[in-house]
Symmetry: C2
Subunit: 179 residues, 2 copies
DNA sequence: CAATTATATCTCGACGTCAAGATACTTGTA
DNA sequence: TACAAGTATCTTGACGTCGAGATATAATTG
């Protein structure tokens, strides 16, 4: 029988996860340190990693890579006529400019976006979704949402709301202060 | 003045984050879809991304890359004599075998780990932390915890506990079922 | 014991990302 | 107008990761 920590019992039928094991290992090896922060932030990182894998799988059913989805949906959300500058795409996707140039090139080659000169700034470019790009984005989004709903079925409606709120408090400083 | 959503008022002095804007955009463009899952899972992914950047910064003060920290601390947590097989390191760090071989090579070149033949399996290898590798891991961990505590100062003690618990419910299926 | 299957690690080529710098254009100022 | 500083995007080279396949050894089966 496995002993549980007394200072934070697992909820009812709760399961252990990798971070529980990680934290236990640190407490054994470094009892002098307070490793409580890992309980939250290591879980965030590991969950993100798992989500990446799951998404890659979901998108592959629509012939898209995760990075393609990110760019196409950024344009899709912009609303008709579904166009943004590379710079606007940068801030939405958190990649560097060299990466974005490369992504736009490849999406253009696949016929999912097209590059247009910006009529109001000759330095600039506008990236526009093609009709096919829009369809692919919409289909992949529906697939993603279905998958995510399944993952979140672990939680009740109100738990999901709580979780979203707590995460917002952590992300807001990054998103609002220059970051 | 910016209008807030009526269906999920931000808590008191709460701040909007990028995901609020993202969700609002989808509700405008695709009012037919229920995008609630994004409230949680997009925040997880974005926060993880921000954490990656912050960690890179924190580790650079100790002359370590994030991937180096991952490997060194996996060995550190194993306890004396601080050694694991490449295969065990794989499962802890979620990278592929080619990547791990490369990482071990580079860490060995820096003198932070050494490769030993596994006495009980001639196919196998054991990777062992050197004394310097151990020191570097310990220092970087202290720095990381300090940084994470600062990020988590946004939340109360009990909120952090709640958040950890909710995240555990989401990660447990990935960590326990084959994944 | 021989043959087969499984396991542990490494090799290698393709690929995406990053960071720094280059280029082209715009804005602010005198 | 002319010039400096700022901005938008693209180019380039280095780097880390992945994934498929290669090699060596171990375990299983008949």
């Amino acid at each position: 029988m496995k002993r549980l920590h007394v200072d934070r019992p697992l909820t009812l039928i709760g399961m252990e996860d990798e971070v529980d094991r990680l934290v236990a290992a640190w407490r054994r090896e470094r009892p002098d340190l307070d490793v409580e922060p890992l309980e939250v932030l290591s879980r965030v990182s590991r969950l993100a990693r798992h989500l990446d894998r799951a998404r890659r799988l979901a998108f592959s059913e629509h012939g898209l890579e995760p990075w393609e989805f990110d760019v196409l949906t950024s344009l899709r959300r912009a609303g008709a006529p579904y166009q943004l500058s590379p710079g606007q795409l940068l801030t939405q996707t958190l990649v560097t400019s060299g990466t974005m140039t490369n992504r736009i090139d490849r999406l253009a080659k696949k016929g999912l976006v097209e590059r247009l000169p910006d009529p109001s700034d000759r330095r600039g470019v506008l990236v526009r979704l093609t009709p096919e790009g829009r369809d692919r984005a919409d289909q992949a989004l529906a697939g993603l949402l279905a998958q995510e709903r399944a993952i979140l079925a672990q939680l009740s409606q109100s738990q999901r709301g709580d979780l979203a709120g707590l995460l917002r408090q952590l992300t807001a400083p990054f998103d609002n202060i220059p970051g």
